[in-house]
């Protein structure tokens, strides 16, 4: 019932704005499914990245034989999450921004988005020497630089996880009584 009510609110919002043109309304199920698949894939790969990343930072030094496999999974999941995140955001931002009415929600969401961009960029920066090595080029940062980026990556991962749940918890759209 809650879902249906929210869907109703969403539709009610979209209708008066007239911003989303015919095609979206003609094939709403197709759009929702694609959106949903990217969002779920991004969420799952980020969840795996967080678990493997925390293990790498705190537990891998005790057993690098296992840590090596975890590192491989973390890199793969992280790079996949980055690709999915970019693809998903293109859709999510274009549609979601038009729908959002709460200023507080927008502020938190933009902050959340910025943190995610830095998190994923730092992840790609860490993975860059690895990818270059696989491509046959040897290049790497000073150890201190990698260490600094890794710390930043860790702190951002924890912060964005908090923001992730805050984002999901916050009311996305205006309450029903405020609707026109």
């Amino acid at each position: 019932l809650q879902e249906r009510r929210e869907q109703h609110v969403t539709d009610a919002l979209i209708e008066p704005t007239k911003r989303i043109q015919g095609a979206a309304f003609e094939r709403p199920d197709v759009r929702r499914r694609r959106w949903s698949w990217l969002a779920k894939g991004t969420t799952a790969s980020l969840g795996i990245s967080l678990a493997t990343g925390l293990h790498l930072y705190f537990f891998a030094p005790f057993n690098w034989n296992a840590g090596q496999i975890v590192l491989g999974v973390h890199l793969a999941a992280g790079l996949l999450a980055t690709a999915l995140f970019v693809a998903w955001q293109i859709e999510h931002m274009t549609k979601g921004l038009r729908l959002a009415r709460s200023r507080a929600f927008l502020v938190v969401s933009w902050l959340y988005f910025a943190l995610y961009v830095v998190l994923l960029t730092s992840g790609v920066a860490i993975a860059a020497p690895f990818l270059l090595y696989l491509a046959g080029f040897v290049w790497f940062y000073k150890f201190e630089t990698t260490d600094l980026i890794a710390k930043l990556h860790l702190y951002l991962a924890v912060t964005t996880t908090v923001c992730f749940f805050a984002h999901l918890l916050m009311p996305h759209w205006p309450k029903k009584r405020n609707l026109p």
Partner: protein
Amino acid sequence: MKRQLKQYGLIALLSFGSAAAVVATGALVVQPPADLGVNIADVPYYKLPYGKDEQGSDRPFWPSRVKTADGKFADPKNIPSAAACVKCHVQEFEEWAASLHAISGRDAVYDKTIDFNEDFKKASTGPEQVRFCEGCHEPAEVILGRTNRVVSTMPSDAETEGLNCVICHTATHADAEKGNGALTISINQATDHLHNALIMASPRDHARAFGAKATNALITKSEFCAACHVEKYDSEVSKSPGSIQVQTTFSEWQKSWYAKNDVSCQDCHMNPDPAGFVEQLKRGVVAKPGRYVHTFVGSNYLMTETALGSNLFFLRGGIIPGMSAKRYLEVIEKQKAETHRLLKSAARLEIRSAQLGAGKKGLVSVAVMNVGAGHNLPTGVSDQKYMWLELDVKDAKGRKLHHSGWFDAKRGEHDPKSVTWMERFWDEQGKQIKDHLTFNTAAIDLTRALVPPRGEDVVDYAIEAPGDVEGPISIQAKLWYRVALQDLVHNVLRADIVVPPFLLTEVSATLPVGEGH
């Protein structure tokens, strides 16, 4: 519950939880890296002729003071060769390859000298006594347990690489006072557990193996170098009844202006421009270099003398694995230029006074000044590395009034009456040892006090000018340096190579007859 939270929050928790569960299970199931050290008892026929230490523990590397952190031998499979490090650290490898550290074990002069000393005590402790030398020159061989009469462990690529990457980058402690290789090496932790590609993304394990906090703190200090650049002989390694100082490079530095101004060994010898740095110090500017390199530029000009052609490769013990002959020559050529520049920056000569009158006994005073070295001139094993002064005084007709310090380039000998700065090794019968037969050395003395850092030695020459001497009189003084006596080349190396001397500095002056200046 909100739809978004219910849907995506659940996915997030499920993916995180399942990944965490899989990782935790994997970490428990996959065995951690095994202990890599080899127990002494597992090396067959390994001899311990020097007994136990004061605490009753075995001293497997004695009489060298080198030791492993866990007291065990290294496993030959696990000592990384410099040729493995070059895959990622090309610049550092090429700098090091040209240095003496890279050939400290394979250099033909050293290699033959070791055999010479070992043979001298073959009947008793010769092969084990050689650990004394190998602890600094080829530490990997010692910690593999291969310095033994019966060699029962497998060889490693690293053992011929002298002081290679793994030795310095796993050292965790150095004893600057005791010397004789007093380094503690955490060699059995020096194994990467990650594939090279993964190290690129997560270098923490690599840093654990080769950049431990204790190591990083140690290798920047002069005390680290002192572990091998302080050398003492005693009855266990020589014929000397008590302890005698042979190499005092560290203590020379410790007492100097350089130590007081925090100028370390590394600041000069690991400087990208060592001579430039020395010139900067002469101007009183003490500023640490922005980058340290692995060239370890020093005084051995012979081992970079590319004019020797194929003899150079013979002397250097072949080509370093992991490097082409062409590239090897290129880096040696660069090292040669840096070595020459550094040597030229070390000393200065001044003619302090000169009084020569017709038919009279005159005096020429030459000051030999150590203006650039942070240790004595010469330093190190000075029974072979020595310095002498050549003085040539002529009148206007070109008639020689005095000449001392000549060098015979065919026989490789210098004027025995010249003013020389060197250590002399003596055997029990009072005969001078000129071929570095360490194990037979009973006493050591100096021909003349070595020139201390920022110090000088004024040499007076009494010269008698004939009655018909014509002015102006020309005076030329040259300070020569040589890295080995010809006796060593003939007796030990058995090669027909003359060790050329190196001109450190020279000065000349002219003066009228009968005047003092």
